[in-house]
């Protein structure tokens, strides 16, 4: 399995990541792009996001998470994750997997996103009109992560 994991300190283009992601001859490529929104889950306006990171542990966590996709039997995975100040509309994360069978590619990307949501080494601040607020993982994120912890459903 080819593993690519990268921390992006500046804006990146998901379409270029997809263009540049070799399927290694596999027939199915699934991608996920997470974009910064202009409001929180509660509907409050957001001026931007700030993702603080660790100089080594963050990129290591991305690599470790990417490597965990091996159990899905995929041919290649790519994770690109922004850090720093992110404006609404900019990409926060891009995940892609290529596999011979589409079900494996879907499961891998879905699982990688759940893992990134809880295990990626980031500290996120939502900057609203009334100042910034540091975010901690939600119960929903933990539940999504738990879906995959014991075995793979497919």
């Amino acid at each position: 399995m080819r593993i690519e994991a990268r921390l992006a300190e500046a804006p990146f283009q998901p379409e270029r990541e997809l263009a540049d992601f070799s399927a290694e001859g596999a027939g199915a490529v699934v991608s996920f792009t997470g974009l910064a929104r202009d409001e929180t889950a509660d509907g409050a306006k957001v001026a931007g996001l700030y993702l603080d990171h660790h100089p080594r542990l963050t990129e290591k966590s991305l690599r470790d998470i990417a490597a965990s996709a091996a159990r899905f039997g995929v041919a290649a995975v790519r994770i690109v994750h922004r850090c720093g100040a992110i404006a609404p509309g900019e990409a926060i994360v891009f995940v892609a997997a290529a596999a011979r069978h589409r079900r494996a590619a879907f499961a891998a990307v879905d699982c990688l996103m759940d893992a990134l949501k809880t295990d990626a080494v980031f500290w996120k601040r939502e900057d609203g009109v009334d100042g910034g607020r540091w975010i901690e993982p939600t119960e929903a994120d933990r539940a999504d992560r738990a879906r995959w912890s014991d075995h793979c459903p497919d």
């Binding site: 997470g34 993702l51 603080d52 990171h53 660790h54 080594r56 542990l57 290591k60 994750h81 926060i92 994360v93 990134l116 949501k117 809880t118 295990d119 990626a120 080494v121 980031f122 500290w123 996120k124 601040r125 910034g132 540091w134 975010i135 901690e136 993982p137 994120d141």
Partner: protein, 74 residues
Amino acid sequence: MAKIAFYGKLAERIGREAEVALPPEGCTIAVLRARFEGLDRATVRACVDDETVSEDHVVMPGDRVDFLPPLSGG
């Protein structure tokens, strides 16, 4: 001296880095925590050389310690 680094909301409050004077025999993580406010043992992890260390780990002059608040995830 030891270099202490903070992340997330801790970095915002305390600053990214602080230098702390240590006795020649060093001091434990538990003692180091007490020098700053809000380094709650239950939620703020201490790392040395990118590995989590326990409360009785001894930090020596010249070492570097990271204090990591709970991850938000990506």
